[in-house]
């Protein structure tokens, strides 16, 4: 592989790992906030326990989201200084706003939410989880504004060979960004909803002690998952109108339109290969659509089954199926992301800067070494964290440590 391919692989692995965790983070944060609102309003002990159990799973997942996010924040400057030099004055502003409005506040409030569990007024504590949730969506919003600019550059002008902002409003109102934001936000809720339903179904099937707890949780999961699936699909459908010609031709597998897209690019930018890897883009698009169809059908079916309490308690094949569905939204999210990002190749900034011209002047050896380092560390951490997530999910609400008052060790009580 040449240096650019290695750098792309490193970016893809980091972004892919990050995306898997933040998808669940975004969805679960919303669900935890809703459950905690219920707990705070009603003072119901059951809902308080639900907040702590789902909150614990949320935090296990969040920790991975944050460490992959830290690495993401530095990837552009590390490996793609050609991109930051050429377009950083435009899309960098969106990244700056993201770190300050979203990442900064989200981390600060989350620390306060976790460690201030019994120290804060319960309304202040509730406000914190909503603050964390709102800033998580703000984060997704500003990242997609930056990504939308790379997909469909708007609101810029060229000066001395580099881009600068001409119209910030046009950049933020970019349909390629806004539609994608709603699509991804919906996808996160699908991921969170199916996760909550699947974990609950596992406990119902095993007839663990917490029947009431998981019957209610399963309903929350499905009540969110069904409309979220429809919402995501709606914005996915609208998003097809914002696709680059070569991406949509690759999805359709239409040789004639592909040739036309290539010819148009050659006419504008000179000779070269301007087509994305057609097979991969098409496979990713089809995977996303197929998984969506399966999820929609099963979410609708589950919504009906959920209305009958004996079914919720005792229909084990359905429980088994819901648990088996947990990975599917992740598959759809990753496939959709591959479709979006591979489909715009060979461009880093569509029509303006090629990926091969966006790289930093770093050596093959440097990238090989860093790629090996990141891949090894992330592989170990991803396996460990999914094992811990599954373990904490199986052990149920009794084993939760979040929000419990720790016992003071006698050795230090002086």
């Amino acid at each position: 592989m040449d240096t650019v391919d290695l750098a792309r692989l490193q970016f893809a692995l980091t972004a892919g790992a990050h995306f898997m965790f933040v998808a669940l983070t975004l969805g679960l944060a919303t669900l935890v906030a809703v459950v905690q609102t219920r707990a705070t309003l009603s003072r119901s002990p059951l809902h308080l326990r639900m907040t702590r159990f789902w909150g614990q799973l949320y935090i296990i997942n969040y920790a991975m989201g944050i460490v992959t996010g830290l690495v993401m924040e530095f990837q552009l400057g590390l490996s793609w200084s050609g991109l930051t030099e050429f377009a950083g004055n435009v899309f960098g502003s969106s990244l700056a706003i993201e770190t300050l409005v979203a990442f900064f506040v989200e981390s600060t409030f989350l620390g306060l939410w976790i460690f201030g569990w019994d120290k804060l007024n319960r309304w202040a504590h509730l406000a914190l989880i909503w603050g964390v949730t709102a800033t998580a969506y703000a984060s997704a919003f500003w990242i997609l504004i930056a990504n939308g600019f790379l997909q469909n550059p708007l609101g810029h002008r060229t000066e001395n060979g580099v881009l600068r902002i001409a119209d910030f409003g046009a950049m933020v109102a970019n349909p390629a960004a806004l539609i994608a934001f709603f699509h991804v936000a919906g996808g996160a809720l699908v991921t969170g909803g199916f996760f909550m339903a699947g974990v609950s179904a596992w406990h119902l099937r095993r007839r663990t002690a917490e029947q009431d707890f998981f019957r209610k949780s399963l309903r929350v999961g499905i009540v969110v998952a069904l409309p979220a699936t429809l919402f995501t699909a709606t914005f996915g459908g609208i998003g097809f109108q914002t696709l680059q010609p070569a991406k949509s031709a690759a999805f359709a597998g239409n040789a004639e339109r592909l040739a036309q897209a290539q010819a148009e690019m050659v006419a504008r930018h000179g000779p070269g290969d301007y087509l994305p890897p057609v097979g991969l883009v098409q496979a990713a698009g089809i995977t996303m659509m197929t998984v969506f169809a399966v999820l929609l059908f099963l979410a609708a079916l589950s919504f009906l089954l959920m209305l009958f309490r004996p079914v919720v308690r005792g229909f084990r094949p359905w429980h088994w199926l819901l648990t088996a569905l947990i990975p599917l939204p992740f598959v759809a999210m990753l496939a959709g992301w591959v479709f979006r990002e591979m489909g715009r190749q060979p461009w880093a900034v569509y029509g303006l800067l090629k990926t091969s011209d966006a790289m930093s002047p770093v050596s093959h050896a440097q990238i090989s070494l860093s790629l090996t380092g990141f891949a090894a560390v992330f592989a170990v951490l991803i396996v460990t964290n999914y094992w811990l997530l599954a373990r904490a999910a199986r052990r149920g609400p009794e084993a939760v440590t979040l929000g419990e008052r720790p016992v003071r060790p006698p050795v230090l009580a002086y």
Binding site: A63, V67, L70, A96, L100, F103, T108, L112
Partner: protein, 246 residues
Amino acid sequence: MEILILAFFALGYLVLAGADIGVGMMLPYLGRSADERRVTIAAIAPFFLGNEVWLVATAGVLAGLFPELEGELLSGNYSLVVALLLAWVVRDMGLWLRGRVPGGRWQAFWDGATVLGSWGLALSWGSLLSDVLLGITGPVALVPALLVAALFATHGLAFAALRLRGRLRERAAVLSGGAGESRTYALTTAALAAIGVLAGLRLPLEPGTSGPLLVPVILVLIPFLVAAQGWVWWTFRHRVTGPSYL
């Protein structure tokens, strides 16, 4: 104004997160048993998320206001920045994972990750700063890097002495002597800030073109960000009385 904003976040990171790094480095010295280590970590636990994010903000400010410098600085020090990121990830995972499974070996392993990651962070920062400040690279850079690491460690000890009680506080105050932990902390804070400022003066701080748009936005945001952090400091202003969630 762009430079002041960058300095605000970069110095904020060095001073605030520097204490977390130092406590992580000195964890084997401060906490001799698993329980003691857990209480020692409680000294930084409520803060470390909100502290490390100052570096994320610094990166964001670089990306928005100094995009050219961002590329030069990060890709120009590629391997050091990668080492810094890996150490950061290992340190954070050590903190997050230590309490997830009961058992001495699991905790000892992740405490080891916290210590290793903290040393890695301190030494990467030391090497980066000595490269920027003195232009020294290669094995010789280890000397100034170790000095910077020692400064982080002292800063961490002073912070731990301010947060802990009893035997742990005594251990942490070993370097403070008669001066008192507040004064030691003020001193190490000044030293870290001075190194940060001097390194900044050596950088080609040429702002990009989005300042007129971004600077007012950031200036409006800063009071809210400081208030959010102030809420954390106020909530955890008392000394640690026992272990926390981690």
